[in-house]
């Protein structure tokens, strides 16, 4: 095998090794327990999204008293179709 082939093969093997490392890391990493601890203390669901004051911090608790939604709308709301 020529030197050029060895260089290309080495690059390919490195890429495969990096990809394998990513897959192994992604499938074996354990989720941090502090997330569930915070949720157990506050009893509030959902991530701490950096949304506007007029958007519901917890999405499903919205009561439609505010019509200012700059974010993307779920497909099942008419706001998505007609735009607010």
């Amino acid at each position: 095998m020529t030197r050029l082939s060895r260089v290309y093969l080495a690059i390919l093997v490195t890429l495969v090794a990096a990809f394998t490392a990513v897959v192994v890391d992604g499938t074996t990493t354990v989720q941090t327990s502090s997330l569930s601890l915070v949720a157990a203390v506050t009893r509030l669901p959902g991530p701490s999204l950096s949304v506007s004051y007029f958007e519901p911090r917890i999405r499903h608790y919205q009561d439609y008293s505010s019509t200012f939604f700059p974010g993307m709308q779920p497909l099942n709301t008419m706001d998505f179709v007609y735009a607010p």
Binding site: M1, T2, L4, S5, Y8, L9, I11, L12, L15, V16, A18, F19, V22, V23, D25, G26, T27, T29, V30, Q31, T32, S34, L35, S36, L37, V38, A39, A40, V41, T42, R43, L44, P45, G46, P47, S48, L49, S50, V51, S52, Y53, E55, R57, I58, R59, H60, Y61, D63, Y64, S65, P70, G71, M72, P74, L75, N76
Partner: protein, 392 residues
């Protein structure tokens, strides 16, 4: 066919056409890494949110007046706890505190520190926390996003909350939550439930809503009917509705990117097809020589397709690896703002590293199959050229 001389020749060709392949490689890597980043972000967020939902109540009861959520009497909790199948019913006090000068808000949550489960979890969360000391005065535990925000405004020991009744309450910063829980605690301010009532302007004996725990799923429907029958101004939200709402939200955002990805991929495949359809004089000569020395059409196609496969495979592997580093180690700058928002406190979440093998396989198929197909037809057209004609 895959013997060492074939491999040598394959890499020799790649080296010879390196400029042509480099452009395709860079574009393909960018496309794969962009879509993988979105996929990783969306998947990791959904996985982390699922964890927080596990600890949530099965039903949330809100009081509705004229289509708006209003404060509910806290003693409704006792009323609901008598329903058969309900393990516990608790009042919840929370809300947003708006800081006018910066147009920023915090999420204030009142917790009942006499609830042993809550105080135990709080002690686990904040190392060295003394609950008695915490309860002794007006104290709060803040998320790291709030801590950074208040520190910038020189509020390092305490913060003065303006209450809706024109008053003010000074609350000491007792502790800050670790940044590894930022995903759910970035904008949080945790304080004693009565203090939270004062800050949010709730009357004594009122709550934001009532939560119910119903351990037996089969009893869910009958419990829901009994709740609705208790009062006529209720809205009951089930845990599964919240889970679906978040799933829809992130699938929707991920879906928009998927659509964009499909458009970009189709365009890219068309460009590839065009590019490989352009037969240059050197290409013709190259194939003419190969055919003259005894290579069959099948051999030439195998060689040319292998050339493209190496480029596509390299781009796929590099794209996915880069995306993983971008999302989980660099915290997805710019792209993260699409999923986390950027209208309030700055977010710098570290998501739990996770990979969905089904999605990766799907991406592999969606990328490799069109890529290879786009190359196959033009390559076949080149391969069938008559060797004598090609070398003229």
């Amino acid at each position: 066919m895959l013997h060492s001389s074939f491999i040598n020749f394959l890499f020799l060709l790649l080296q010879r056409h390196r400029v042509k392949h480099a452009a395709v490689f860079v574009i393909a890597t960018t496309i794969v890494s962009l879509f993988s980043s979105v996929m990783f972000l969306s998947g990791a967020l959904q996985k982390d949110i699922a964890i927080t939902l596990d600890d949530q109540a099965d039903f949330i009861v809100q009081k509705i007046r004229g289509g708006k959520v209003v404060d509910a009497p806290a003693d409704w909790a006792q009323d609901f706890s008598g329903i058969e199948g309900v393990r516990a019913a608790l009042p919840r006090v929370y809300g947003q505190y708006f800081y006018e000068p910066n147009g920023t808000y915090f999420t204030v949550v009142g917790v009942d520190l006499f609830d042993t489960q809550v105080s135990r979890n709080l002690e686990k969360l904040v190392a060295g926390l003394n609950i008695k000391e915490f309860m002794a005065g007006n104290n709060m535990i803040i998320g790291s996003g709030v801590q950074k925000f208040l520190a910038d405004l020189r509020y390092t020991d305490s913060f003065v909350f303006k209450t809706p009744d024109q008053g003010s309450i000074e609350v000491s910063i007792f502790a800050a939550l670790a940044s590894d829980s930022d995903l759910v605690s970035n904008d949080l301010v945790v304080m004693e439930i009565d203090l939270a009532r004062q800050v949010l302007g709730l009357d004594s004996g009122m709550a934001t809503d009532i939560i119910l725990y119903v351990p037996n799923e089969l009893e869910g429907d009958s419990v829901m009917v009994k709740i609705i029958q208790k009062h006529f101004d209720l809205r009951v939200i089930q845990k599964k509705e919240i889970a679906t709402a978040y799933k829809n939200l992130f699938n929707y955002k991920g879906g928009v990117f998927l659509l964009l990805f499909m458009v970009v991929l189709v365009t890219f495949v068309l460009i590839l097809y065009q590019r490989y359809s352009m037969i240059t004089g050197s290409d013709r000569r190259e194939i003419g020589i190969l055919r003259s020395v005894g290579w069959s059409i099948k051999d030439v196609i195998t060689l040319k397709v292998s050339e493209s496969l190496v480029v596509a495979l390299g781009a796929f592997l590099l794209g996915v690896t880069l995306a993983y580093g971008f999302v989980f180690f660099l915290h997805a700058p710019l792209l993260g703002a699409v999923f986390f928002g950027f209208a309030n406190l700055p977010v710098d979440f570290s998501l739990t590293r996770s990979i969905d093998l089904r999605m990766i396989s799907l991406l592999f198929l969606f990328f490799m199959v069109p890529f290879t197909s786009a190359v196959l037809v033009p390559v076949w057209r080149i391969a069938i050229i008559d060797p004598v004609e090609a070398m003229k």
